[in-house]
Amino acid sequence: MGSSSAMVKDEAEDSGVEKTETGPFKEGEKVLAYHGPLVYDTKIQKAEFQKNEWKYFVHYLGWSKNWDEWVGADRLMKPTEGNLEKQKKLFKSQTGDKQSKGRVPAGKQKSASERDELKNENKLSGTRGKKRKSDPVSESKVTDELDQALKISLPGTLKKQLVEDWEFITQLGKLVKLPRSPSAEEIFKKYIDCKTKRDGAVDDSLIEVLNGLRSYFDKSLPAMLLYPQERAQYASAVPAGSDVSPCSIYGAEHLLRLFVKLSELLVYTNMEHEALTQLQQKLADFVKFLQRNQSNFFLTSYA
């Protein structure tokens, strides 16, 4: 392939830079790459010195590895604000369709590249978790727009439920007794049954939404839906390495908390404004269902 470590060292020593230099970009770095008329997000898998120039084997993020290829530095750019703008402009000129800009709440537009920029910032600083706490402005700006578009306002009685939940656990040292009946899983099933009885059939897209909620619930419960007082209980209810799903153990109390966090999660999907409106309708209907069945689904006292 033409690269030898001796040659690299000579080059490096001659130019007086570090021995590990691999040209303008390095392995593992996420960079923008030109391909055809557009600019793609890529990750550098390998760097090699070939025929007097640095070449980078890039992987196009989100695309099959079959597309991976060697490119020169001339086709690559760092993900700076200016370059991300370029990416956005090129995409716009290709599609010429307003809808494809992603979520478009009135007055404020966030495109895929702006979202990526936020993500890139987080990636480059390597402190995604900290960034969430220390930079509430950029995070909450994005989720605020989403919250607006989603407009999942919980009815008063469910808000009250959340506050009582908070009181029991953080103020009174109590816990929800597990496993719950009905579990979140069972609540989803009841909802589908209810819709089937009422409308005869259930929409494909509604099924996807419910599957999505289930998926979010299972993955995010330990990551963002527990009060610190509940961690020990979680550890024994869902042992590490077991395939117990939170959906089958936890119930409406925790499902409700998911709705508080939903926009933080949906941000990643970069959903278009119109799709969000549809989604909001479906979610609002589900929330009404929870409210109608509040006395059956929620605990009024904790142990």
């Binding site: 557009l38 079959n66 508080v260 990643y268 799709a275």
Partner: protein, 133 residues
């Protein structure tokens, strides 16, 4: 659905005569010469959709909402309903879905434990109600 959809066995194996895109650029559709305008339009809309809804997210927790977004996008632009399975079949033409893995970001999110906290707005709203009742 056209004559280019390849049925992938659900057990995850790939058939030997499944064509995978070789060194052709992602921006142009890699298909044989004869193609109706409908087919081209479909593929164009798909590629457009992929710029919004990252296909790599299909491997993780956002899968169903990504599918929801794709279904909606295609229906709106092509005036044709696609089921989730049909969308997956279309995706299969461009990606080897088996090879998709969850994003780094998802792993970070899942591993980073953040305590739940109730938004101040909700707490305050209910406290006010309690005081006034």
């Amino acid at each position: 659905m056209g004559d280019h959809v390849q049925q992938k066995p659900r057990d995850g194996t790939t058939s030997s005569h499944r064509s995978t895109p070789a060194a052709t650029p992602p921006s142009s559709a890699s298909s044989p010469l004869k193609k109706g305008t409908q087919q081209v339009e479909l593929e164009l809309r798909l590629l457009e959709a992929f710029a919004i809804y990252r296909p790599s997210l299909l491997a993780g927790m956002h899968r169903h909402f990504i599918l929801f977004g794709l279904m909606h996008h295609l229906e709106r632009r092509l005036n044709q309903r696609f089921s989730p399975d049909e969308v997956l079949q279309l995706l299969d033409r461009f990606f080897n879905l088996d090879l998709l893995e969850p994003d780094d970001e998802e792993l970070e999110l899942v591993n980073h434990k953040e305590d739940f906290s109730l938004p101040q707005s909700i707490l305050e709203e209910i406290k006010r109600k309690k005081i006034s009742s």
